[in-house]
Symmetry: D2
Subunit: 349 residues, 4 copies
């Protein structure tokens, strides 16, 4: 069985493991206050062209999301996001557990628009009974989105301008940020992200690390006392230096982006194969996640040799499936999938 199930099924890129191996015998200060973390943070600041940004390393994405969001919002505020946003749909109410409502906007292929934000906020502020509703206090985006789509630099510029005009901080969940940058094909850079967002993550777990997400806070008003929050929420690891070592290795010599590019290249081959076979895709994803709509027969056929996600049943007895490549996906694995897809035409649903 070959797995296209997700992008967190393998340990880590050899360069990352090598960095861990090399540190054996060395002694590091605790809680991320070490030179490896400093160096990794410095590398991120350079990549982002944001010398004043704060960088923290947390073990997981849900934790990064809940820690940042809860640190920004006042008790009566909620966070605006797409109804498909990870915090709205797949984090077991983690944001609510910190006391805040997730205020959802209907997504379009996983994305939301400045007009939607503007409209929601304007209606809230104009409502005489607004004190009876949570106040929007932050905007959450994910990039890539949960459907593999990508906010490009012009889109982020517009979202950022909208948020600043409304005086709302903008937070971007970059659990798959590398795949977004790779998919945008030059139309999106780390510095675009840093310029547009008040805070964002640079995903590690899904991009080649053993574990770890870099949380970057560009807005100085949101930086104060942030390490207290990390500790309080359980994300301040004693051996934080290990995340510093790993990120330092992953961000060296363009490795982060070249791994993401390789995953995207393989994903686009899969997309093309489905399309060529006349199999529709749920949305136009340019990144490492592809969402074909399969008949039961097609699904059964592919499931003989491949592991992939059955996202949800659709109304017409078909299924929304997901095929996910990663930094670790081999071209020859995709070759085999392509052959199987090309045989699908003879299958009855």
């Amino acid at each position: 069985m070959i797995s296209f199930n997700n992008d967190y099924g393998q340990t880590a890129h050899p360069a990352v493991i090598e960095a861990v191996i090399k540190a054996q015998g060395e002694t590091f200060p605790g809680y991320g206050e070490d030179e490896a973390c400093d160096a990794a943070a410095q590398r991120i600041r350079s990549l982002c062209g944001a010398p004043g940004c704060q960088v923290h390393f947390l073990p997981g994405g849900t934790q990064a999301n809940l820690t940042l969001i809860a640190s920004v919002l006042r008790p009566h505020q909620g966070v605006l996001c797409a109804d498909t946003g990870h915090i709205a749909s797949h984090e077991t109410g983690a944001i609510e557990a910190t006391g805040h409502k997730v205020l959802t906007l209907p997504h379009q292929d996983g994305k939301i628009t400045p007009a939607q934000i503007q409209d929601f906020v304007a209606r809230h502020r104009a409502d005489d009974t607004r004190e009876h509703m949570p106040q929007p206090g932050l905007v959450y985006l994910s990039n890539t989105t949960e459907f593999g789509t990508v906010y490009t630099a012009p889109e982020l510029n517009a979202l950022s301008a909208c948020c600043r005009q409304l005086n709302l901080p903008l937070y971007l969940d970059g659990a798959r940020l590398g795949y977004a940058l790779a998919a945008a094909d030059g139309q999106l850079s780390f510095s675009d992200i840093a310029r547009c967002c008040d805070a964002f993550t640079i995903g590690g777990t899904k991009q080649g690390l053993l574990y770890g997400e870099a949380l970057v806070i560009t807005n100085p008003a949101l930086q104060k006392d942030f390490r207290y929050h990390i500790k309080q929420r359980g994300g301040l690891l004693g051996k934080g230096f290990l995340m510093g070592l790993q990120f330092k290795a992953l961000l060296q010599d363009g490795l982060y982006l070249s791994l993401a590019q390789s995953a995207t290249t393989q994903a686009l081959r899969i997309r093309h194969a489905f399309t060529a076979q006349g199999i529709p895709l749920f949305c136009d994803s340019p990144s490492n996640q592809q969402f074909p709509i399969l008949t039961a027969g097609q699904m059964a056929s592919l499931a003989n040799a491949f592991i992939f996600a059955r996202m949800m049943p659709l109304d017409d007895n078909r299924w929304l499936a997901r095929f996910c490549t990663s930094w670790a996906t081999l071209p020859q694995e995709v070759d085999q999938l392509l052959k199987a897809i090309q045989k699908l035409d003879s299958i009855k649903a």
Copy 2:
């Protein structure tokens, strides 16, 4: 400089790293639902003689504490613990952030007694105004304690009997459980812990892993739906299999305990050296943390070559210091410290 600063300053034991290296290229299911986690959990069940216990792997100790405690308590309940307990003193109000008060009892060398628990609960239950106070809903112990002291099997038996008689679950924070077992020198076993506690952790981070704590839930009433809680608090790592791989390696062939024993042996050499030099110890710790009371001169002298923790100033211009050994401490490092301690007599305070 030689570090006796803490027990989480080095990467991991070679056998642990080796296990991670060996898994390269393999594909694992996500979120800890993999064979490595299963095998590690099975090993823990065997060690504990508790075939029905649940085992979860979380990245850090604060997260394990807050997730378990918040899952057990109802909103109006608090958790009883020593005023020196980690959750009371060094987790930035993580328990309170989940809505619960930490109800502290005065410690004796980091420990609390059944009589204290009994008395607190009896007074609460007899108080006509008890509804105006949080209800004790759980007891928290750490073993070793924050002062390196150890609850032995007879002590845990008594605490457990007290808690069961009062219908209070008992939770033991075992961030340094290996060091406790080693220090108890045969008077305490995994199965003692499992028999006495409703839930407990087996620390990994401080005992030779890169990261990770095993949370063991022995009481079936506390097991239900627990993975939801882990996800909600941010502790369900996508690559959970890495903690399975590491724990499996650490729990093989008695490695966990032999590493802890080695640390304890070195710590007792340090203790003896201080005592021989007439330098008092804050308490009688049999484990890997030793707490000498040093004059400013003694502290300065040792700080020339060694890194250690200055815990707090005492009233008489002396300081409470901490020297901590670990699974990675080398005998020759302790040799050097011993020489330095032996020279301390000529130092004026």
Copy 3:
């Protein structure tokens, strides 16, 4: 100006005020542990045919909702309700502030169905990734609903059977329960409510009291320690006896229902007037709230002499308005409104 703005704009029914006046000079025990509260609770138990139910008096409805809901749910659980439910739409995220997500179902005229609940829960329980989503832990209804519609006894029976089969407690927000009972015109009784629900409120504020809601807990499993929760959330008033005195008066000699019936009678006159005038109603409300859809011109005309709520603009430049009667509404006030409605035909939109 005559107000049809809401049902909490006047002090209290004379019998309620009289009960307060009469108590002057008497001394009562604090925190609701007095004979007046006991007597009012006993009256409620009798009305409900539920001798084992617990009755608590809280000052407001949002507080009753959040206290009950937070006491029932475990941290990973959410509460199912209509997307128009008061807790979802008009309590400033009060439920989320206690850590729980409100899981919304699309309403039909403010109501939800057993099939919707069944479907949501079945999909949750069948989902392999369910641990990444809040677990449904309670169902919330309001009766009357936010659109004035009413769950009748057969509907509540079906909802109750569904919830019990799914092992989900059922909570009914009865801020306007009297108006629901009056509107159901014999098809719904206190004992129907008590039989079908695990907990519910009997609204006082909107039904003739100065303030206060009776929270009735019929399910013994939800009764334990409940007064701790009330105190913790700030709802345990020192002078709780005042709510006992008021409820005792309001529940005497059928006053509660006769006041509600009077309000309903007046509301139905208003409904008929709108319908006779060819003005559509948003939904078929049999109770004290009526929701006509008005043109701007109609709204302006009525606003000359009457106060009423402008709920929200509709897509076609019309508005959803609300006219609300109460226990205090006088027939002659409605006479005047009827005359004004009858003149609306000559108004251009």
Copy 4:
């Protein structure tokens, strides 16, 4: 039996009830946005000499405390207070339920000092591991304190200066503020309170109202969006106008202070009687609560005719008792108590 049990055992002062009666038939806007609330707020602004302060009316003291405190603190912050402070000891963990730790300082007769605050904060800020502890974010005082003692104007000036120098807001729980002002005998005024505190309450429930506390926010930085918080925590009553009506009546013509003065006068008679009888008082309370230390025999003797609080058993088989007067206490009731106290000498313990 004559009750000296507490100061919330009777309905309300006749002038307050009269104000409620008079409003019958009138229609008021909801949620405290009415002229009665405006007028009461204006009266408070005048009394306080604080034209810019915000005034809100909430039904109870615990709710006022938790709403204000949770609105001020960021998630990683705690509130400093005396270990006897109401929020620390008698609100069922209400503050913790909003996510924040109560950081206690040892009281002296219920009070804390600027030196204690300064010392706690200085140690926190100097601690290298401070991120592992909650950050002090607010100071809570009660006046009168839980032991009836009073912070005078010079003491509050010093506390306020200390807090401002440390950049910590100061909040004063004035559930018994009238009794404090009366006891201070000219050494403390509303404007002293308003000048020294960033927020405070003016108690109503214990000072002659049916219910209600006025929450005054003098610091503009703490005023923003406050009504959202009240709604979220359940304290925004639909019939808020009733609290406006009551406070307006209570604050008219010096009634608030004259009622408090009367209670204090009677309490001092009781104090003198105990002292004259050689019965020690727990502390030197100048206000409406008196805390004699009684033998079991003395307690039994007084319990024959009087209701009072048994606070806690002391080590020597004696009890700490509380006798509490109120705005409603009659001189002839105290006459009888005095006679009973004078007979105590012949009782054997």
